[in-house]
């Protein structure tokens, strides 16, 4: 299993991947226990001291000035050399906290060790067996508060702050390698179970559940409201952070597993949940929290005020930034984005790329409370985005033709912590001022999409319209499971994926518990 042949090496650098026939396929599945046992004997010859001596490798990126004017991906990815060096920084802890820190429980030390040894096919197989969308999570996960946040290497030692292993960057490297070397991974089609599952929504939660279920042999059909699959991965997250081509390859991988995708299918309008329950043995609802929240301020309906959803959808899904685009998008010289999360960062950086000279984040708390990923904040700053902290809009100002002109704002100061644990912003009396803007994007959150739930009165929802489900996604209706934002409220890609993975296991268990299906007779058919 561990032996690395010359053939493997040849395929790895892309020099001769075609030579690999079925008999030459690498033995890609690592022993779950084997990797752990070897830790003490085969650490690639490196001692802990030697590993500790390696500095964190930085991610090559497009020049900030150049990239602020294009939609190409910002991070360029590790080279194999950088990736292996970074992988050698992993101390292969006996009790790896990083796995606990990961919502989909990726066996991080295992794939990193295989990578450090140069066994890329095995590293890829290990990663893919834990994570259905590693190219995505390697790019968009908030690693600093998950796996990397608990990495031993990140701890301060003798007053010197540590730097965690760049797990996200390594995940991305291995996942991208797997995309380019699909022929070196053994794709065994699972034995059909005879059971069918409808997955409603093709965002990260739905795609993950679909992949997990398909790999267990269940026939999966995904219902997607848009014309294209991917959910927030295609309409929300910009090309410069997550190339759509990569999302498509991840989706294609599911289709190859036998997953059917039905676009233009709105459950709650085109289909009812009741119909899906008739037609399928189980249903997984992952429709997300897609409804934009507005500020409820005067002037918010002026022309030139977008929800972040609308602004990003026009650009990401509809390609409005392309010169030949049929879908228009408003561009501004001075763009104000209200909010401090990842969506706000995506919107403000998109505005820069669409030619905004002044692109400003208006956020009512301070830098320390920004909910966005650290890397997004750094990238935004490098690209010339301005941050107006401790600032809360009071009114959207417009001109006599109904177009937005700016935001009347108040300065804030931080008071006592609120129920979220963050210090509550309090208005500074008499501090009003105006942020000039010819385009305003509101990125202060989203709420539950009501189409499915309104059309399914027997499915319990809470007072905010979110579906009620247990930890494994079971709803009150037998055979109906739910996860992602429609259960937890607006959160992250990886949390939705974690829900999808747990729900898939619960769905699998449910399906196995069903009485054997009656044999289909000519009459019944």
């Amino acid at each position: 299993m561990d032996a690395m042949t010359q053939d493997d090496r040849a395929g790895e650098d892309g020099s001769a991947p075609e030579r690999r026939g079925t008999d030459g396929a690498p033995t890609a599945r690592p022993h779950a226990h084997g990797a752990g046992r070897e830790r003490r004997t085969a650490r690639g010859g490196l001692s802990t001291k030697e590993r500790m001596a390696i500095d964190r490798q930085s991610m090559p990126a497009q020049d900030a000035h150049d990239r602020a004017a294009n939609f190409g991906e910002v991070n360029l990815g590790f080279t194999e050399q950088l990736a292996m060096l970074e992988a050698q920084r992993c101390l292969l802890c006996k009790k790896p906290t990083c796995i606990e820190g990961c919502p989909v429980r990726v066996n991080i030390p295992q794939f990193i060790e295989l990578l450090a040894r140069g066994d890329l096919a095995a590293a890829a197989s290990s990663l893919l067996s834990d994570n259905a969308l590693p190219c995505v999570t390697g790019r968009v996960c908030p690693q600093e508060s998950q796996c990397e946040g608990v990495c031993l290497r990140g701890r301060t030692l003798r007053g010197v702050p540590g730097e965690p292993v760049a797990i996200g960057h390594l995940e991305r490297f291995v996942a991208d390698w797997a995309l380019e070397h699909a022929d070196q991974l053994n794709g065994v089609m699972p034995e059909p179970s005879g059971r069918s599952v409808a997955v409603v929504g093709s965002g990260p939660g739905g795609l993950t559940a679909a992949g997990e279920l398909a790999r267990r042999g269940h026939q999966v059909t995904i219902f997607e409201a848009f014309h294209a699959a991917g959910g927030v991965l295609v309409y929300g997250i910009p090309e410069f952070r997550l190339p759509k081509e990569i999302v498509q390859v991840e989706i294609d991988r599911l289709v190859q597993l036998g997953v059917e995708i039905r676009p233009n299918s709105i459950v709650g309008r085109t289909y009812t949940l009741a119909e899906l329950r008739e037609e399928f043995d189980a249903v997984f609802v992952a429709v997300g929290a897609g409804l934009p929240v507005f500020m409820n301020l005067p002037g918010e309906n002026l022309k030139g005020v977008y929800s972040a959803n609308e602004y990003l959808t026009r650009v990401n899904l509809m390609g409005a930034h392309r010169p030949d685009a049929r879908t228009p998008v408003l561009t501004g010289k001075r763009v104000a984005v209200v909010g401090g999360g990842n969506v706000a960062m995506d919107a403000v950086r998109t505005a820069r790329r669409l030619g905004a000279e002044d692109a400003v984040i208006v956020y009512r708390r301070s830098r320390d409370e920004l909910p966005a990923r650290l890397e997004e904040v750094h990238h935004a700053e490098e690209e010339g985005v301005r941050f107006q902290f401790l600032t809360a809009p009071l009114e959207v100002l417009g001109d006599e033709t109904g177009w937005v002109q700016g935001l009347r704002c108040a300065r804030m100061e931080l008071g006592e912590p609120d129920e979220s644990g963050r210090r509550r912003p309090v208005t500074v009396p008499g501090s009003e001022f105006v942020v000039d803007a010819d385009l305003v994007v509101v990125a202060i959150g989203t709420r539950a999409n009501p189409l499915l739930t309104q059309a399914s009165p027997d499915l319990p929802v809470n007072r905010w319209g979110y579906l009620v489900a247990d930890e494994d996604g079971r709803s009150a209706l037998p055979g109906v499971f739910a996860g992602g934002d429609i259960v937890r409220g607006a959160a992250t890609v990886i949390l939705a994926m974690g829900d999808g993975k747990r729900a898939a296991a619960a769905i699998d268990e449910y399906l196995r518990g069903l009485p054997a299906a009656a044999p289909v007779t000519a009459d019944a058919g």
Partner: protein
Amino acid sequence: MFPIRGTTRLAPTVTRLVVEAPRIARIRKPGQFVIVRLGEGAERIPLTIADADPDAGTITLVVQRVGNSTADLVALEVGQALQDVAGPLGKPTDLIERGRAVCVGGGVGTAVVHPIAQALSAAGIEVTSVIGGRSREWVIYEDELRAVGEVVVCTDDGSHGRKGFVTEALSELCAAGGLDAVYAVGPVPMMRACAEVTRPYGIPTTVSLNSIMVDGTGMCGGCRVSVDGTNQYACVDGPEFDAHQVDFALLADRLTTYREFEQRSAVPAAPAAGTARCAAEVR
């Protein structure tokens, strides 16, 4: 793919498309719409379903050429296909259960009011349709509406039916009394004027709002309209609302958002009902 089964030129820039969409044909209700997309790179365009034939598995869409995207739809021929048709979207029309109703249609709005008149008539409601256009060639769906009740045709130039606006005919019908509901679909100024005509009589009046939208499922918020002082989404809360509560001035203004983009489109403007032309006036 959704094949085109028939096309008919109804007016100089207005075309009727019969599209194969069996599921939507079977379940759609009056007042609902679809979002269509011609192909890769094309815009998502909301179009109200003008008619459906569940047996043939087809729906009927009426498109007015406004910009490049609608020009592409109007140019479609039998044998071609729409890549995407999503729906039915929006809430169905709230139909009265007994009494008399007037259905007012202006320009392409006449095609939208048609399924409402049809459904009312089928439910035993006495329906009078008041339909208008700039001149004879702009009057559409007259025969179809005659099949379900009396029709009053109004043209700006008097070239067909009576000379004048639909609001004048509506006003007379209101004054004559006995109306239980009015359904009005057309350009914003027409719907707004109809609301003012019926308001003093207290006749419940429904309008179908054509605000700008991307997804049609509540996600973009672009279609927000102010109804009774609160924001509603035309795509999921509507598209039909109580005419007496709608802020038409805001709607009309928001519809001009992309005027600059449309003017850059090569197609010359062609006003429909002699009142106004607006960005999303494609249904």
